[in-house]
């Protein structure tokens, strides 16, 4: 296998892409859509690969939706997805707890999706989801008035737009007790950007809990292994050497794919521009960045991949 990196994907590679890969993993934000806009060719590509008999899975660090929620969204935009095709962090958190035979109660800083996915596997979130308000006039917190649950033995950090000081107090206090597990869905510091504002990601919430508690979590999402472990558990016939990972972020999607031995394809439609890739490539050459951040292939966007596949189809049918 060639060890070349950052190769611009074109017609000469497309046979390999199609013939050597059975499973196609897609990151979503920045690859298939830039919320709320679905990117051109995205749905057509998913449908095309499906008609070719390829397994298509969606691999996202986004903890805001359940498997069902994501599948519903994909159905609405034209791709008939089954929930089990969605490998999202709310779901893998439940899978992880199941895999370690977890018993007990969770304090989860996160959204309703976490409650639903954990609930599906019988795990109980006692507190942490939704607002936990502090009085607007407060200039001090009387700790004796805070209600703590004595049965919490796991703290989970996920994306939470209702994060506040009181939740960090609770999370850090639970984490100071012996034998309390600490999990995080992911540590992306920003969510996909828009032009108006920098949108803090789960990583920023996690950073405050880590600082306050002095503890490090087990992080489940890309680029870490639990995501692929969940895929292999759910789809035992998936072979890493015959899997392609399509993503837009080097430090999550591409690093994840490379570490798992997958073929990696970077698209420039999301978080990473050609210029940024070049900068990272130079850093790798100087040994100041990890080689595994570099994708095997890169392409402008999924539409270009689709066009290459359709051109190939035309040639084959002549």
């Amino acid at each position: 296998m060639s060890t070349a990196v950052c190769t611009r994907l074109n017609e000469i590679h497309i046979e390999t892409i199609i013939n050597d890969h059975d499973t196609f993993l897609f990151d979503c934000d920045g690859v298939l859509w830039c919320s709320p806009t679905v990117l051109p060719g995205a749905i057509e590509l998913l449908n095309y690969l499906t008609t070719l008999g390829k397994r298509v899975l969606f691999v996202t660090n986004n903890s805001l939706k359940t498997q069902k929620g994501f599948a519903q969204w994909l159905n609405e935009i034209g791709y008939q997805a089954k929930p089990e095709q969605v490998i999202c962090t709310a779901w893998i958190t439940a899978q992880y707890l199941k895999s370690i035979n977890f018993k007990g109660h969770c304090y989860c800083i996160g959204m309703q999706s976490m409650v639903e996915e954990l609930g599906r596997e019988g795990f109980h979130i006692s507190d942490g989801v939704g607002p936990d308000p502090i009085s607007p006039e407060t200039d001090w917190i009387e700790t004796s008035t805070i209600k703590f649950d004595d049965h919490i033995n796991c703290v989970i950090s996920a994306f939470d737009i209702h994060i506040n000081y009181l939740k960090i107090v609770k999370a850090a206090t639970y984490l100071s007790r012996p034998d309390v597990l600490f999990l995080a869905t992911n540590d992306d510091v920003t969510t996909p950007q828009n032009d108006i504002a920098v949108l803090p990601g789960e990583g920023t919430i996690l950073a405050s809990i880590v600082a306050a508690s002095g503890r490090s979590p087990t992080i489940l999402g890309k680029p870490r292994a639990p995501m692929f472990d969940s895929i292999r558990l759910a789809f035992p016939d998936v072979k890493s050497t015959r899997t392609l990972m399509v993503g837009d972020r080097l430090e999550t999607d591409i690093l994840f794919g490379n570490r798992q031995g997958l073929t990696t394809l970077l698209v420039f439609s999301g978080a990473t521009s050609e210029k940024k890739l070049d900068t990272v490539k130079q850093a790798v050459d100087k040994n100041t960045a990890e080689k595994e951040l570099l994708p095997k292939f890169c392409i402008k966007d999924v539409n270009h991949l689709l066009q290459l596949l359709l051109s190939r189809q035309k040639i084959l049918s002549k």
């Binding site: 308000p133 502090i134 607007p136 850090a172 984490l175 920003t190 920023t204 306050a212």
Partner: protein, 316 residues
């Protein structure tokens, strides 16, 4: 006084030496003088004793939730007549720092009312960040089209904020993404001193989220960084670090601060650091896995004990 001595258990003789060889005494407050509202036995008496001996006293605290006036009043209420200028607190320090760099412009300040008070006292304008800025309780997504962002923000300041929220972190990170926006932090203590089992996040926990979201590193003003001592020397040019004692309870802030400035450092075991913690630290320093700067010259049970040593030397 040998600066090579570390972790020496304070005795009467050392105490007499400290008194004779030093003109200025710097005190951290939480864990040293009090665990508010509990004032440690001998604390106020020690402050008054040193003042009577003609010593110059300063209170050097990373706590950004009170003003110089707030602290002066607290001291006065508990029996020590402190002047506001003796209080070196981070809300005041932030204003001094902005003054020293001739700052012009508006600040977005994640912090409590004390920050607004000290900054506005020096004529600095705050365009937001103080107090609650929450999302609707039924919100399940962040909608940026209704967001109100100020066009003219030149500085983002991160301090302890009980009203920290997602929107505030978003605003701070967005402002910090613009060119030429200064990024300051009062301090980065991870947690507040607590007597019970509850962990209270410090300014460092708030800062961690703003730094992560913005991918920027701030200029940190509080201990152990130098800005605090610079502010003292600016206001009181005759303060000589070689004739200064720093008394504190946290090695990575108080003691590191004192040592780096060339002062003599005295650790008390009445707050964040136990004797066991100090022994572990000493071993780690020997194994070169921790900084030498964090080791105090002297250590003592508490300020009450220090006072007793001083008073018994006097009797002799």
């Amino acid at each position: 006084m040998s600066t090579n001595e570390v972790c020496v258990g304070l005795t009467e003789i050392h105490s007499k030496s400290l008194l004779n060889n030093n003109d200025t005494f710097l005190f951290d407050c939480d864990g040293v003088l009090w665990n508010f509202p509990e004032i440690f036995p001998g604390a106020i008496e020690l402050l008054n004793y040193l003042t009577e001996q003609g010593k110059q006293l300063f209170f050097v605290t990373n706590n950004s939730t009170k003003t110089q006036d707030d602290y002066a009043k607290r001291f006065s209420d508990i029996g020590y007549k402190a002047k506001p200028e003796q209080i070196i607190c981070t809300a005041w320090l932030t204003a001094q720092h902005l003054k020293s760099i001739n700052f012009k412009g508006q600040c977005y300040v994640i912090g409590m009312q004390s920050m607004a008070h000290e900054l506005e006292k020096e004529g600095f304008q705050i365009c937001g960040g103080i107090g609650p800025d929450p999302l609707a309780s039924d919100a399940n997504a962040m909608k940026t089209d209704t967001l109100k962002l100020d066009k003219n923000v030149d500085c983002v300041i991160s301090a302890l904020d009980l009203h920290i929220s997602y929107i505030k972190i978003l605003k701070a990170a967005t402002y910090l993404n613009r060119p030429n926006v200064l990024f300051l932090a009062t301090n980065d203590d991870a947690s507040l001193p607590q007597s019970d089992e509850i962990v209270m996040p410090g300014a460092g926990a708030v800062l961690a989220s703003v730094a992560a979201a913005s991918c920027r590193a701030p200029t940190i003003l509080g201990k152990p960084h130098a800005a605090m001592f610079d502010a003292i020397r600016l206001a009181f040019p005759d303060v000589d670090p070689k004739r200064t004692v720093m008394i504190g309870d946290r090695v990575e802030t108080d003691i590191a601060f004192g040592n780096r400035q060339g002062a003599t450092t005295l650790l008390v075991f009445s707050g964040a650091t136990s004797e066991k913690n100090l022994n572990n630290l000493k071993q780690n320093v020997e194994k070169k896995t921790a900084e030498q700067d964090n080791l105090p010259n002297f250590c003592v049970k508490d300020v009450g004990q220090f006072l007793q040593f001083l008073q018994s030397t006097e009797k002799k």
